[in-house]
């Protein structure tokens, strides 16, 4: 492939809220530039994973190269670097941004800006990216392009006329977007003749080819077969293949300055060349690596246990395989008295947790039991030692605890004016500390500092339901703060169930305990015996409910005509029982272990009275 002048290259990404049409726009760009023919067009091509398509979200960043002949008659190389749209994956966004000179800011012309878009827009501005604002879905009857164009123009400091208006669905206006990418986004400005420096913005593990790094070359060039090294990891490898996604992987001889593409490294472990590393050549190494990213740390933890104990090795293998391609997923063995052998897993957030769990169940055919998610606590013991506690069961005896610190996040919520009161009430109930409030477009942006533990439960659902779906949320980790936290135990038929323990704020312990035992009473079906459910701190019982004993369990009738049918009914019942977890003599359905997520709001808002 011939050397492309940098001024003919444009690297850009798309910033958009979920459902605002990023994938549709990306598809349309691929079609319009001829990268993908009508026949080859699959709906939302870039969201390739099954789960991603199902949920309409993007998880992994990807880069696609297309060719575009602009009005000036020149052929340009456009590299579209995809970005995820969910708060759990905001670190992936920052990775994409660092590989680009510009971003399309896509906003639904009927919805306006959402909190995550806002957060990512600020990220983009901080990264000196040129923003091309695009109002999408102008074909919708509810679209208010003039209103939203004015607001966006003010937000990012452009003229309202500079806000493009398109319908990715019909294709209307997409041509203008391509023209704007070429006209407004600056070309890359690295040193094509300097020592090679290429930023790894994503990497995947391929069973046959080893680690494949997606990279943006800033300076110099990467040639196929050249000996290379990772400047941070020190790993040495050969570029077994260099190439670009068109969107199908297409080998090239080289990747030059300003270009984005992939390098097949043959490395056996993803840890050998992590995202954020800088690739250089061993023949003429660069002296300074490119600025990387902060280490991605899991924020939410839960225990994953196989329903069938025999599946433990299969679960371990499956986690190993998933972690190969997901640096943010952590796992360590955990033993629960109630649930047996499993793993304490770390995730970026609840969505990430859901996705990992769904992939384990679906792609690896495992039946899993998940415990209530929690955050990571820093516990200082009376002897001065500090440990990180990721499972309630690991919390030391109260007498040995000097202090417990919990992660706080800065939480930004965009909400229409009439929802401000509801949001403030919710945030206060969840121990939020008010920071600021300012108008953005026709809405208010509320900023609270909140314990992350209050968000990982049902905060997002509550936020949506209290604002009729109009509020949107973004958050980032702030710091750790000391809180009076205690371990709340749940006892079934008198025996503590370690997998149901929670770490909660002392002042909320009783309400949570009460709500949790109530939720459990509703979840646990009647048994042959009465089952008391208790919530306790140490030996102090805070709340009690009872699952009443069954008083009748018979099959109403059974005559000659329905013996087989009744036998099959028994088989189905048995199958249902097998999905239950047997804790002592009590059969507990799997949902029970997530009961804390379904605690009704009534119980929590008790703090207000």
């Amino acid at each position: 492939m011939s050397r492309v002048e940098q001024d003919r290259i444009r690297n850009f990404c798309i910033i958009a809220h979920i459902d605002h049409g990023k994938s549709t726009l990306a598809d349309r760009i691929l079609q319009l530039t001829g990268a993908v023919s009508e026949r080859e067009m699959r709906e939302q091509l870039l969201d390739s994973m099954e789960l991603e398509r199902e949920r309409g979200i993007t998880i992994k960043a990807q880069a696609v190269r297309v060719g575009y002949t602009a009005a000036d008659g020149n052929e340009y190389q456009l590299n579209l670097i995809d970005t995820p749209g969910h708060v759990d994956f905001s670190y992936e966004v920052s990775r994409s941004l660092a590989a680009c000179e510009g971003a399309l800011l896509v906003i639904d012309a009927s919805q306006g800006i959402e909190a995550q878009t806002l957060a990512n827009t600020y990220l983009a501005i901080e990264s000196d990216l040129e923003l091309v604002p695009v109002l999408n879905k102008i074909d919708l009857p509810a679209a208010e392009p003039d209103v939203h164009a004015a607001a966006i123009a003010e937000l990012i400091g452009v003229a309202p006329d500079d806000v493009l208006r398109v319908s990715a669905k019909t294709g209307d206006g997409v041509e203008d977007v391509l023209a704007a990418i070429v006209e407004r986004i600056p070309p890359p400005s690295g040193d094509p003749d300097g020592p090679a420096r290429a930023l790894v913005f994503d990497s995947v593990y391929d069973q046959y080819r080893g680690v494949v790094a997606f990279t943006r070359v800033v300076d110099g060039e990467l040639l196929t077969r050249a000996p290379l090294s990772g400047m941070l990891s020190g790993a040495r490898f050969e570029a077994e293949e260099t190439g670009v996604m068109t969107p199908w992987s297409t080998p090239t001889e080289r990747l030059g300055a300003g270009e984005s593409g992939y390098v097949v490294t043959g490395l056996k472990q993803i840890g050998d060349l992590r995202v954020g590393d800088t690739i250089t050549t061993t023949a003429r190494p660069a002296t300074e690596p490119l600025p990387g990213y902060r280490d991605v740390k899991p924020m939410v933890f839960c225990g994953l246990f196989p329903v069938e104990g025999d599946d433990y090795p299969a679960l371990r293998d499956a986690l190993e395989r998933l972690a190969l391609n997901d640096a943010s997923l952590t796992y360590e063995p955990e033993t629960s008295q109630a649930l047996g052998f499993g793993f304490r897993c770390g995730f970026l957030g609840l969505l990430h947790m859901d996705i990992v769990r769904a992939r384990l169940e679906r792609e690896h055919d495992l039946d899993l039991l998940a415990t209530t998610p929690n955050v990571e606590y820093q516990v200082t013991a009376t002897d001065g030692s500090v440990t990180e506690v990721r499972a309630p069961a690991d919390l030391p005896e109260p007498s040995r605890i000097e202090k417990i610190e919990e992660p706080f996040v800065r939480c930004s919520i965009l909400v229409p004016a009439d929802g401000v009161g509801a949001v403030m009430g919710l945030c206060q109930d969840r121990r939020g500390v008010f920071a600021t409030m300012e108008p953005i477009e026709q809405r208010q942006q509320l900023v609270y500092d909140m314990p992350l533990s209050e968000i990982v439960l049902d905060f997002y659902d509550q936020l949506k339901s209290r604002t009729r779906g109009y509020a949107s949320l973004d958050y980032e980790l702030l710091d750790h703060r000391e809180s009076p936290l205690v371990k709340l135990d749940i006892l079934l038929a008198g025996d503590p169930v370690d997998a149901l323990s929670l770490i909660v704020h002392r002042d909320f312990a009783e309400q949570r305990g009460r709500a949790l035992v109530e939720a459990l009473r509703e979840t646990i079906p009647r048994q042959m015996f009465e089952v008391p459910i208790q919530a306790a701190i140490g030996s102090k019982i805070l709340a009690r409910e009872t699952v009443k004993a069954k008083r009748k369990d018979v099959l109403a009738k059974c005559y000659g005509g329905d013996i087989s049918r009744k036998r099959k009914l028994l088989e189905r019942q048995k199958e249902g029982k097998k999905r239950m977890k047997h804790l002592g003599s009590v059969e507990v359905p799997q949902e029970a272990f997530l009961s804390v997520l379904s605690i009704g709001e009534g119980a929590k808002s008790g703090a207000k009275q």
Binding site: K552, V554, K557, G560, G561, I563, L570
Partner: protein, 365 residues
């Protein structure tokens, strides 16, 4: 191996009741003659399996809609095979019988009538789409008694949509006032495909349903009935021998559309659809049948499932071992089971939780 229990199915009904998921045909009375011919043909084809017949059960549908002449022909066809003292039961809806029909049935050898009363409360009868009034129900029972049947039985329902404990109490009193020889009292099952289910009728509260069941058992027992099966009650000597044969896992032959037979390790169900049934037998073929082979484990598990329904003990020598023998001590300790001399019996409390006990003892997979 000869079979001594015979079931004959009549699929015709004048309307479909709200809770019914059986193989019935509505508005098809013109097919009765052809159906009778086919049924008699199937009887002829299967006759080689029959020994002396101990019990016959004419079920439906609404068998009484076949009317006297056809029923007489059917009963005449089996009469030569009946054992001395055989039990011959017919199901009947009160609004479909009169004295003449009952006398004809009695004369043709029917010994037992089972009336589908379901309730004496007009609003519940309406909710269940039943065609008879409470008065018709009472009159039918009185008439059958005066005609001289050995046993008169009534079917009733509990946990029907909208039924209160007071409604049940009133039904109990009305039932006892009629003094039937036998009572079947079922909890209404909301089955998929029934109109009640489609209308989204509420299922009874778990506690209310339990109260109703327990109240029914104690009221009938107090009046002298024996609670001889999960949902069946009889004055001494009036137990339904045909049903007891099912619960004892005996072999039986079932003829007619949708009827099931079990002979040894073979079970088959005739397919539904009167036209298809009539056509096949007219051609000289067997009706379309769904067959199932029962292996030893399946039969053992069925013996436990059926045997625990009865009030007598289960002999391990008959039923075979339970899959979880270790559960026996636990269940005995919990007061749900009694064990002695190779026999297991549910306690009274255990009978209310029969299904839970069954799952503790047995695997169904």
């Amino acid at each position: 191996m000869s079979v001594s229990h015979l079931y004959l199915h009549s699929p015709f009904c004048s309307s479909r009741c709200g809770y019914c998921a059986f193989v019935v045909e509505v508005d098809a009375l013109e097919k009765r003659d052809a159906y009778l011919e086919a049924l008699l043909t199937e009887l002829e084809r299967e006759e080689h399996r029959l020994g002396e017949i101990e019990t016959v059960y004419l079920g439906g549908g609404t068998p009484t809609l076949m009317r006297a002449p056809r029923l007489e022909r059917l009963l005449a066809a089996i009469r030569p095979r009946l054992a001395e003292g055989a039990e011959v039961t017919i199901e009947a809806n009160p609004e479909t019988v009169d004295r003449a029909l009952l006398e004809s049935l009695r004369a043709s050898g029917v010994t037992r009538v089972s009336f589908g009363i379901q309730s004496f409360r007009p609003h519940l009868l309406a909710a269940l789409d039943r065609g008879a009034t409470p008065e018709q129900g009472r009159a039918a029972v009185e008439c059958a008694r005066s005609v001289g049947f050995d046993s008169v039985s009534v079917d009733l329902l509990m946990a029907a949509p909208g039924q209160t404990l007071d409604d049940l109490e009133a039904d109990l009193q009305d039932t006892l006032a009629l003094a039937p020889d036998h009572v079947s009292w079922y909890e209404l099952e909301m089955k998929p495909g029934t109109s009640l289910e489609r209308m989204g009728a509420p299922t009874a509260d778990e506690d209310v349903a339990a109260d109703m069941y327990r109240r029914t058992v104690s009221a009938l027992e107090a009046a002298g009935y024996r609670w001889y099966e999960t949902a069946n009650f009889a004055m001494p000597g009036h137990e339904c021998r045909h049903s007891v044969a099912y619960w004892s896992a005996a072999d039986y032959l079932g003829l007619g559309v949708g009827a099931v037979s079990t002979v040894g390790s073979e079970r088959w169900r005739n397919a539904s659809g009167v036209d298809r049934y009539v056509a096949a037998l007219g051609r000289g073929d067997d009706p379309l049948r769904h067959r199932e082979t029962l292996d030893d484990d399946t039969r053992r598990r069925e013996r436990w499932m059926l045997g625990l329904r009865l009030d007598g003990p289960i002999a391990l020598s008959w039923a075979g071992p339970p899959d979880h023998p270790d559960a026996v001590d636990r269940l005995v300790g919990a007061g749900l089971l009694e064990a002695s001399n190779g026999r297991l019996a549910l306690t009274r409390e255990g009978r209310f939780l029969q299904n839970s006990v069954l799952h503790e003892l047995m695997e169904y997979a």
